[in-house]
Subunit: 340 residues, 4 copies
């Protein structure tokens, strides 16, 4: 694409937390124009009527999805939808030769049975699934460059995988327990007493300590990276914050390693990555990654015991920012465009 | 009532913020037993199933309202309901000689036309309205003692009236503007995106700066106390907090007064009141009244200009605590029972 | 002591979070009078001048400590002090036959070397240490009854021990990792940028993932209860909340157990305890224990893997409430006095 | 300055909330390089050591101020200092022909006596004061273009002036009371129990309801804009939020106006302003301006009574963003550079 023309992009599912943040980031991206947005809404209206802070920045109408119109208006289609819905509409866009970046779980699992078990639904598009690439640039950049369909990673998987992959790749980590803490936007924008300010303010709780749907995503990808079957435990929590995930990873080294070796391992893995910041023995603060596309990682050890702490903004590196990073890669642009 | 037997009380509307807090306070009250609770619910179940922190403290079933059963089980009936519903059920309880403490607005307005204008409904019980007493003990204690029906004050009116009445009674205050700030529980327990943690965290907004339904309640009662028609402006806000109201009252003294005179006026008015704390020129902090039945008041002046700041816990002095205070008065008990 | 006279109590260290909360709870206790309070302060003044919400409830002067005066005024002495200071003053009170309830770590470790290693100071009172009893009523009630010196447990240890002891006593739990999350009051009342609202709001961080001073306290007591050396990992976090600790305990059962057996084990252990609520497979919400002396516990399993979640209010069951519970036991009063 | 070279800028006072945010914004500005930063610090170190989220983005050393070095390294000097300190160092930079943008109050008052009364210090630089321009672009753009010394407006004044100036210019507003609510960063980065998370969480308070130092700044500038002496009342509050100011302005119209006329007046005043968004009768939500350089304004009326609500991010439009806007104007760049 020529440097002086802009690429038109569509956001399907524009009114969720993810869709809204995606649009905000796209508006600051120098190479794209947001040309079509849709959401399930009762009354079609200007996006800035729903979100007044977009006034003067994006005044196009947010409509119920019309796939033909989306196709006619955009080259890149972002799907910021609940799982299962993507399965229904991605095939059409792919057939029309559009680039599709799907933020749902629908194309993340190579093993359909795992998807069907955890998402309690039938997978109806194994054809495209074969060509989908898991959009974690730090480990799948080359494949992303060539794909037409990105399965954008989940929020917990992003931080969990980035925090442990260097050690797992070298088969140096075992007995892994991921204790993750997430702000409430991770649960999506739904009217519910469970998300009521008066309920969450000053509150904290554990949920799905076994069997969370992000567990198989984490193990599948880590197994692929480590080239051996990885098993681990994953246990998430909701904290009284709006944004961000901090994952505390408790594990054991398979052999004694000093801090220098550990630092070298992580530095080597990530030193050329624009969005991973390895802090050495300093443990990251959640707040430092909010409103960034960064994953911060720090670690400490005692004997063979290790604690690794990773942080991301769930809406950015954990969703919309990473989606844009993937678009940048596919389009051959500077990977950091619109993300600094 | 004999000191050694307990009085049975019912809470109708048990699952709202107000009903829940009322039950919590009643469980700590030495003279009552919570014998009947109801709410609009899909599936009747133990109250402690809905609110686990009541486990072992109140395990009776929360049912859909059966008025006959309530009558058979309780002597005092608290109505913690949306306005208009009280009108439909209070007459039955009153006929059955029960004491009714209504936390809605339905019996607060002596002038039915004002009620109908602000609450956009028809008042259907003028018979009982005549006998209702406005349950602000600091100004209507004697009448409360003798009534069978208490109209428990609204939250904004409670703090607004208590903060200004001493000056207004003496005709010393004019050009009053009340700028009130409330935690989100003031809006009731409803699933809504407007009350979502992610929306309110770090947020603040003004609403209904003219025409809020608590405005005519404030002016009606202050006019009655001041024995002259009081007019003022009232403008509320929602703050990112769960509980409490802080009202900043901007006004002008009708004559120059020094601090000593002002202190004497407020002290004289409230020195025997168990739940009003006059702080002199120290302005109250919202947090100091949370989980108390107290109204804290402080004031400062510059020439004839005065700023009075009042604070209450909207769920306690602004609703459930004051309701219990009213019950204590009617039953002839120590007014502070269950409230310290 | 006669039922109709009140016992005088002193709080040394009255202005910390713990001291303030202790005084608040003691003011609601029917059998005691707060007769002496002290703190390290520049200017002696009424306690209600420092904390206005005590106005009218406690107006005695808060002084710099005068041990003779404290002895002359009180029968029970609460020490809410930083560690090491208790060592310097407890011996005097004990010699004067006072009951001493020490909220610091100074008398918690039977092994002085462990104390000295973790608290980086010398232990100077091994004489009294011998007679000190660890004040966790659920496991040391009989010894507490007879002691003159209570070492009140730390906040993290209280919830960690209560959550795991039933399984450890039966030697059914191993490979334990405690991932704990605490509100900021756990760090004490200090002016620091690290505790600034703007720093913590929306933040979360891990600290001391190895070597936290509560780790040896947890393992010492659990080893004593389990009658075998217990080892585990303990890793704390600060969450953006004021109060409360939620401990997520990841472990493995030493043999397969079904839910029924687990429920029976915990129920049997705690069914007569007034302040432990076992919720079965429902995981506790932090908020439900705030402002209570309760520890809520829930658990879930998958195969031999188990996650136990425990919650307490760090200032109450984790400090001041438990201190009062210990006083009640020593004085032979109802253990729940002042705590419901 | 040539479009292809970057201008070097210095930030003096880099570690306050304002300095930190200023640097963050400057790093995203396409025409400048942050070439010198200083603060009062014990140990000089890389800025990213103090604030890890700057790692890889700004790694220059943060030193104690050396004015000669600053002069040699930068063309534009931002002073993000407590008042009075600017007075001591600005003259040197001005003599060296640097552009100085002072974020303190030191050059905001044309009447030195007012400054000295409210800031309780002596003004020592009336020479430069004469040439200083009040940096509110919406009303002083032409003068800013030509000045070497900008007195960047205070946070409360920015929102208060922008919200009322259209009406005051037309002499249509009187009896003005500004009830302002600010997040805690407005108080600066200081370690204090008053700013402790545990104190502010769930809290709210009024302070300096008379005599706040921003009052004379507001009236001075509004009088200048209105070409008549403006008097008003100003009363600020701290809310439990990190960022942002919402000002509720209660006033009276001097003549009856319908909504159409009001909308026309504000629209005409601000329609070409890039950073003022007039929302008509919709009242702004604080959150919508956070992380933006915008001031949102809405208003409602009842008869001649009017409530105007204005919002800004105190650290951006109320400080650092506006400082950059002023730099853009002086340098002849697009006014929105680095601010969208």
């Amino acid at each position: 694409m020529a440097a002086d023309t802009k690429t038109n992009v569509a956001v399907i599912g524009a009114t969720g937390f993810t869709g809204e943040k995606l649009i905000e980031l796209l508006l600051g991206h120098p190479r794209v124009t947001v040309s079509y947005i849709s959401a399930k809404i009762d009354k079609e209206c200007a996006f800035s009527e729903i979100f007044p802070h977009f006034k003067g920045r994006l005044d196009i109408i947010c409509k119920n999805l019309d796939m033909e119109e989306a196709v006619s208006k955009a080259q890149v289609i972002f799907l910021a939808l609940p799982h299962k819905i993507s399965l229904e509409i991605a095939p059409f866009f792919l057939k029309k030769k559009k680039i599709v970046i799907d933020l749902s779980a629908d194309y993340r699992f190579k093993d359909v049975a795992v998807y069907e078990q955890y998402y309690k639904t039938t997978h109806t598009d194994s054809a495209n699934l074969r060509n989908a690439v898991y959009g974690l640039p730090e480990f799948y950049r080359d494949a992303i460059k060539k794909t037409q369909l990105v399965a954008n990673p989940g929020c917990y998987p992003t931080v969990s995988i980035l925090s442990t992959a260097p050690l797992l790749k070298a088969k140096l980590l075992e007995n892994i327990i991921i204790d993750a803490k997430s702000g409430i936007t991770g649960a999506g924008r739904h009217a519910s007493l469970a998300y009521h300010f008066a309920h969450l303010h000053g509150n904290l709780f554990s949920y799905k300590p076994f069997g969370h749907q992000h567990l198989p995503e984490i193990t599948q990808i880590l197994s692929d990276i480590a080239k051996t079957k990885v098993q681990l435990r994953f246990s998430p929590h909701v904290i009284p914050a709006e944004r961000g995930i901090l994952a505390t990873i408790h594990g054991q080294l398979t052999k004694a390693m000093d801090i220098k070796e550990l630092n070298a391992l992580y530095t080597q893995c990530y030193e050329h990555e624009p969005f991973v910041r390895f802090l050495g023995q300093q443990l990251p603060q959640l707040k430092d990654v909010i409103e960034t596309n960064c994953c911060d990682i720090g670690l400490q050890t005692e004997g063979k015991n290790i604690v690794i702490v990773g942080t991301i903004d769930n809406l950015i590196k954990g969703a919309s920012g990473q989606a844009i990073q993937n678009m940048n890669i596919i389009c051959g642009w500077d990977e950091t465009l619109g993300l600094l």
